[in-house]
């Protein structure tokens, strides 16, 4: 610092030289790369009788593949089977919450123990949804029991009243021209509140508040290990690479081929959680969101390989902001959907939409505006949920006020 201050008094020759080369070539392997060579200038000071500052250039090469494919010594380094397992579990549990054939114990087992699924591979995966629900360092520990309570409410109150007519205070069945749903005493269709809540509490929270944050990526010796390319025991990846991939997996884990070149532009929407709405929002209110998020995952991963951690975090910030916007958009959409449906007199269809909205409102506390701050805190979300709790009596003005607050906060 002192040296730089002195410089201001002396004659300085300033030379700026920028060269840009474009080259293109064909490759015949499966991975496409953009190679960016960034040359950095470091000024080294040697002090004698004369001070001379000698520029030294450092070159950092970042190879960014077009697809989400990374390899080391010819072996793929991307793995997210644990995320795929949990997303498949969510699908099965969602189905279970839409029938009257599962016991409470069975559904709680599926959620908390990761067993009891029709897909035997899930039962032996060792993965569980429950321990990844509202489990990030930023999540409130009070949320996970809310999901247990939904399952219990469904089993204790909705299933026994499967054929009872639902009304205010009475769980049961609700039918209109559009659909038939089974609701609890407050009109909640629990498969919807549950799965839309899980989108925030598990998939979003695990990505934006856990795996792509320094809390996970830089924990313990992971930064040093990644810089030195010290691999995880028995694996072809570093811990940091793997953590990033696990974040990727919570969004893309049910893609049949997550290495395809057009994954960024055309997510399949497979499954019942985040990817489903990622596709929808990309195709409607936020065109281009999908490619932005995909590119950020792809580049962030390449920057990890190249030890460029600040650039990695820039990409993480994009992912946090975009996926959070998705949650806000769906909360708004379903509240609007409810109001037009209830105006048409379709109570079942309206309650179905509001159940989805309720789950997405619940998910708002897991958003991340890019500064590791949610749009709304746990207590703010709980206040929203309390105000809209009874679908039979909730006023449109209450929902409009929630909707407008969400729009304002998310800037949508």
């Amino acid at each position: 610092m002192k040296i730089i201050k002195k410089i201001n008094h002396k004659p300085i020759l300033f030379l700026l030289l920028t060269s840009i080369f474009f080259m293109s070539c064909s490759k015949d392997d499966d991975i496409e790369y953009i190679t960016q060579t960034v040359t950095e200038t470091v000024v080294v000071t040697e002090t004698q009788t004369v001070t001379v500052e000698v520029p030294v250039t450092q070159t950092v090469t970042v190879e960014i593949p077009y697809s989400y494919e990374f390899a080391r010594a010819g072996k793929p380094t991307v793995s997210f089977s644990g995320q795929t397992a949990r997303l498949n579990m969510a699908d099965e549990l969602y189905s279970a919450l839409n029938t009257n054939t599962f016991s409470k114990a069975k559904m709680l087992e599926m959620f908390n123990d990761g067993t009891g699924f029709a897909d035997a591979a899930l039962n032996s995966s060792g993965k569980k949804m429950g321990n990844k629900t509202a489990a990030s360092p930023l999540a409130s520990a009070t949320v996970k029991p809310q999901f247990d309570a939904m399952i219990a409410d469904f089993a204790d109150n909705v299933i026994p009243n499967w054929a009872t007519d639902a009304s205010n205070g009475q769980a049961g069945v609700l039918t209109d021209v559009a659909r038939t749903i089974h609701v609890n005493a407050k009109g909640h269709e629990i498969d919807q509140t549950f799965i839309k809540g899980i989108i925030g509490a598990m998939t979003l929270d695990q990505i934006v508040n856990n795996y792509i944050t320094p809390y996970q990526l830089d924990s313990g010796t992971r930064t040093v290990d990644n810089t030195n390319k010290t691999l995880s025991t028995g694996k072809d990846y570093t811990d940091m690479e793997h953590k990033w991939d696990e974040g990727f997996g919570y969004l893309y884990g049910q893609e049949v081929d997550a290495t395809r070149l057009d994954l960024g532009t055309t997510p399949t929407g497979n499954g019942t959680t985040l990817n489903k709405y990622f596709k929808k929002v990309n195709a409607s209110s936020h065109p281009g969101m999908a490619i932005q998020v995909f590119d950020a995952f792809r580049r962030g991963r390449a920057y990890i390989v190249a030890n460029q951690y600040d650039k990695r975090d820039e990409q993480a910030e994009i992912i946090k902001k975009e996926l959070s916007k998705l949650i806000a958009q769906k909360a708004v959409d379903y509240i609007n959907g409810y109001m037009s449906k209830i105006a048409d007199g379709n109570t079942a269809d309206a309650f179905h939409a509001l159940s989805e909205g309720y789950g997405f409102v619940m998910s708002l506390q897991f958003t991340n505006d890019g500064t590791d701050t949610p749009y709304f805190s746990n207590s703010e979300v709980n206040a929203f949920l309390a105000s809209m709790d009874n679908f039979w009596t909730v006023e449109n003005s209450t929902l409009e006020s929630i909707r407008d607050e969400v729009k304002a906060k998310a800037g949508i």
Binding site: P11, E40, E246
Partner: protein
């Protein structure tokens, strides 16, 4: 003499774009032109164009004398002043206070075993409570001799293993150095010996009167705890100078280890063990039998879990703020954060006060609190967790210190 300064900023951006000629999916790509922005427009049309924008002009960042780049810290704060304040005004005084209490506890054990009667039982129980509370102020210092002999784990591993302890009682075991015996000694071991071997005070005293094996094992626990304490306290007379002067930013410096010990203790010793595990934060359902001082509550002798959690929080707060026993602030993690002109220190201070309120909201009896309204336990957990994030990521990154332990996250 003329000084010549030449600064050259050289930015070279080379973009090599390689197109793919796999025949399976995108066969026509192989004949693409060599203009970077159009190379992959038939594949993922959006991927190729924008990749170069973020990198080219971030060049001249790493200026500086190349000899000093790997040195300890990026600021000029006197880290040694924190160590001196901690050791002289906090650590050693706390240990001395604890040792006095430990001496009393050992004496009470001997008196009770010699004459297992109601008065001696009450005196012993009272000393157990007093020293268990004071223990909360020293468990965090897992450094030097304490770390070497696993002092913290020997003094306060809970839940106590009933099976292991019963077995040790029957065997008359006196060597408790095996790690499997950590859950059969220390304060939780005493809890079981005073409140767990029988369900009432009379029943417990009766056991000591009828069978000497109980008294023998109680004496063993007292003497093992006391010997370990003496080792650790004595060590500080010589370790203090080493500690005070070991403030370089290396993985093994006292400064780095101490700050890691503090964060680790706050996360595991306080947040996880006292609140998180019993409240079921890490399991599918609450695990009330894992509270600290479990048998004391279970068999309705009294309740101590909340008191211990409050004491531990207070101890952490005083350490963070650098308070001596008279409540006067000295150099501390807080003052270092303030020096770095970040709000983190102030935020943590506020959150520590909030956490005190949230813990105080709980019933004295954690077993009934968990059974009746576990949400309040989870709210208390949240109040501590938000501090963990500040300490573990924000504070340590401001200090430019790496976390020396890793979270197992189950994947």
């Amino acid at each position: 003499m003329k000084h010549l300064y030449i600064k050259i900023f050289l930015a070279v951006l080379v973009i090599v774009s390689c197109s793919k000629d796999s025949d399976e999916d995108y066969g026509q790509n192989s004949s693409q032109s060599n203009v970077q922005t159009t190379t992959n427009n038939s594949t993922g049309s959006t991927t190729g164009t924008s990749t170069s924008t973020s990198t080219g002009n971030s060049t001249s960042t790493s200026t500086g004398n190349s000899t000093s780049t790997s040195s300890s810290q990026g600021d000029t704060f006197d880290r040694g002043s924190i160590l001196a304040n901690y050791s002289e005004n906090i650590i050693i005084p706390r240990y001395n206070t604890f040792k006095t209490s430990m001496d009393n506890l050992k004496n009470s054990i001997e008196t009770f075993v010699n004459s297992p009667n109601s008065d001696n039982y009450d005196a012993l129980q009272s000393d157990w409570i007093d020293s268990y509370k004071k223990w909360q102020y020293v468990e965090v210092f897992n450094i030097s001799k304490a770390e070497e002999i696993m002092y913290g784990l020997k003094m306060n591993t809970y839940p106590v293993s009933k099976e292991r302890t019963d077995n040790n009682i029957d065997e008359g075991k006196t060597d408790l150095t095996n790690p499997n015996d950590w859950s059969a000694q220390g304060f939780p071991g005493l809890d079981y010996m005073l409140h767990g071997i029988g369900e009432t005070k009379d029943a417990v005293i009766e056991l000591y009167n009828s069978e000497s094996k109980y008294g023998n094992y109680l004496l063993t626990l007292g003497s093992v705890m006391n010997e370990n304490t003496i080792q650790v306290v004595d060590d500080w007379t010589t370790y203090k100078d080493v500690f005070n002067s070991s403030f370089n930013n290396t993985a093994t410096s006292a400064f780095n280890m101490m700050v890691n010990d503090f964060v680790y203790y706050f996360e595991k010793g306080l947040r996880t063990n006292k609140i998180g595990i019993p409240a079921g934060r890490f399991s599918s359902t609450p695990l009330p039998d894992k509270i600290e001082a479990y048998y004391y509550s279970k068999n309705s002798f009294g309740n101590l879990s909340k008191t211990l959690a409050l004491e531990a929080r207070k101890g952490a707060e005083e350490l963070f703020l650098g308070l001596n026993s008279d409540g006067v602030e000295g150099p501390s993690y807080k003052s270092y954060l303030d020096y770095l002109e970040t709000e983190i220190g102030t935020n943590v201070k506020t959150k520590l006060e909030e956490a005190s309120i949230r813990i105080d909201d709980l019933q004295d009896n954690f077993l009934t609190q968990i059974a009746e309204n576990n949400t309040l336990m989870l709210v208390a957990f949240d109040a501590l967790q938000t501090i963990v994030v500040n300490l573990k990521t924000d504070m340590l990154s401001n200090f430019n210190i790496a976390v020396d332990y890793t979270d197992a996250d189950g994947d």
